[in-house]
Assembly symmetry: C2
Homo-oligomer: 357 residues x 2
């Protein structure tokens, strides 16, 4: 009897190993979220064509923040086999699930419903994102890592299952350029950056050029953005990284430089959020207040000089109870969720004025 | 002129280095959050005296989750110099700020207001938690790391500043035994575990024996809890780790074992939360449903057999919009915040029945 049991276990083991997954390269599916095409599938900006970025900025725009794969499958299990460059993000407030993991949503009753989020235990290995699902056809939205550089990605499905590219389910094209906040630093997973949340909530298509710590109204970013001719609007979290002096010196020339290439694209600037570091650190409080004041002054001037330039200056986007900070600077998921909830109606108001519905 | 400038820079550098911080050992202050005293200052359970724990459980109860230092200081800056054992937590959903960093609150107008949260860049070095504050006397609540084992901790203040131990600002004593949820896995920082949130909100004193993945109604934990004679109540997140069969077999004997030592201490069991992994993973959904059903059945039996045993079985503690998960199992800060907000009134109802106000 014991021998029979062992034999059964051995056979089951062989059967499980033989339950092979079939892997397809992600480039055969549909990768969305890029403002302009790039030769490298998982880079957000072609850093060979666009020059002037610092080494850190170059690295960041080669990270896959805001990119997502959309596909249909009837597989009961989805595996991933990502390959990364040696770059590893070192930020202390961001978990690995967000910086190098993937975040999967499946459409149910017309809504994007959370399915799974997971990073590989060890880089270089295939791993299972989700299993034991029913075998109906599913529409999948898979966010790529926020803060890693991928060299390749393969998606595994049950051997007999189908997997096909899916059309971009989002409408219009809104480029969002921003700081670590927009990048999603300290979110729990890639789908919780506030642009991705607003995208899922509204169905609008956000292409993120978030560049943690480096959204400083640089002319070379203006040159890049100016080439995105088919954007319906651009949103800027542009007052989080520069100090007041930089905002004073750079904002108008930055807009001028974009306007030279894009005479009428709506440009929507968003005020930077309150930072919890200012609760007791008096210097941090002053620096942030100065930035917000300068943003207000310069935006008043910008809106006089340029058409179709907007300023969303709403206070308390992350609430007033001071419980939302991960590290004094970046919100936690609680803060990012409130941010998305509170910013969304403000952005929609401006979008409607611009014919974006 | 250039030479004068360089000389000034050199002098300022020397002056800055000379702006010495005075360090005091944390054992000179007041460390709160321990259910029973331990010889080692930063262990939660004396693993020499209490036997039976697995290697993993031993490691976890030597981690400082739920412990906090309370002190008063008029320093404008607070530095920390923690020393750790070689143990490093590998969970992919928890950022370093939570697993090895510290989380500082300062009392303002009677409320605990977030001040700073930060992990050292490199273990073994002193680092600045907060600086540039005014020099009024402040009441500080400093949460220790959720998932690290400390060997020592020193707190640095301005050389001329005072730092003194503070009385425990929390009242009553409520021991909470639980899983990774209670431990705070995937919170952004130690102060965001739901027991610590409820503690700050209500002023009640929670001592956490959370043991990630290992809250399985083990008899040796019952023996330990039975020794906490001065607890006003005990709360259990005891249905998150065991499967239905384990709950069936172990719950009644576990309560019996505690009751042998503590005939009347109120024991409050809390239903486990909905796991987002069950949105599409049918097996995960079934396992969790079975656990919840079995918890209901066994708790009905327990409340018949024992006095002062309660069951809080409230659905949707983390909401119904399915956006709160960090990894399919653990909530993000958004989920933990909702959990604290929704569980708190239910717990307070039971506490009031037990004379805990």
């Amino acid at each position: 009897m014991k021998r029979f049991f062992l034999l059964t276990v051995a056979l089951l083991t062989v059967w499980a190993a033989a339950a092979q997954m079939r892997f397809v390269d992600a480039t055969e599916l549909n990768l969305i979220g890029k403002a302009l095409p790039t030769p490298h599938p998982y880079h957000r900006i072609d850093t060979v064509a666009y020059k002037g970025f610092t080494k850190g900025e170059n690295q960041q725009v080669r990270c896959s923040a805001g990119l997502a794969l959309v596909f249909k499958t009837n597989s009961t299990r989805i595996d991933l086999e990502p390959q990364y460059t040696s770059f590893v993000y070192a930020g202390a407030s961001t978990p690995r699930v967000a910086s190098e993991g993937f975040d999967l949503y499946i459409r149910k009753d017309g809504e994007w419903l959370y399915a799974a989020s997971r990073a590989p235990k060890k880089r270089g290995e295939a791993y299972t994102m989700i299993s034991r699902m029913d075998s109906s056809e599913k529409e999948c939205l898979l966010y790529l890592p926020n803060y890693s550089e991928l060299t390749s990605l393969r998606v595994g499905v049950d051997e007999g299952a189908t997997i096909t590219p899916m059309e971009n389910p989002f409408r219009h094209k809104i480029v969002i350029f921003g700081s670590s906040f927009t990048h999603g630093v300290s979110t729990s997973r890639a789908g919780m950056s506030y642009p991705m949340q607003i995208g899922r909530n509204t169905g609008l298509y956000f292409c993120s050029i978030a560049c943690s710590g480096n959204c400083k109204l640089q002319p070379y970013f203006a040159d890049y953005l100016g080439d995105v001719k088919d954007a319906d609007a651009m949103v800027f979290d542009a007052f989080s990284n520069p100090d007041a002096k930089m905002i004073e010196e750079r904002l108008i020339p930055f807009i001028e430089r974009i306007r030279a290439k894009l005479p009428s694209t709506p440009l929507i600037f968003v005020q930077t959020i309150y930072r919890e570091s200012g609760n007791f650190d008096l210097r941090s409080r002053k620096i942030e207040e100065d930035k917000r004041d300068m943003a207000r002054r310069q935006m008043a001037e910008a809106m006089k000089r340029f058409d179709n330039v907007y300023f969303v200056d709403k206070a308390d986007l992350t609430g007033t109870d001071h419980v939302t900070s991960a590290d004094g600077t970046h919100p936690s998921d609680l803060g990012y969720w409130r941010w998305a909830q509170n910013l969304q109606p403000e952005l929609l108001k401006v979008f409607r004025k611009c014919g974006i519905r």
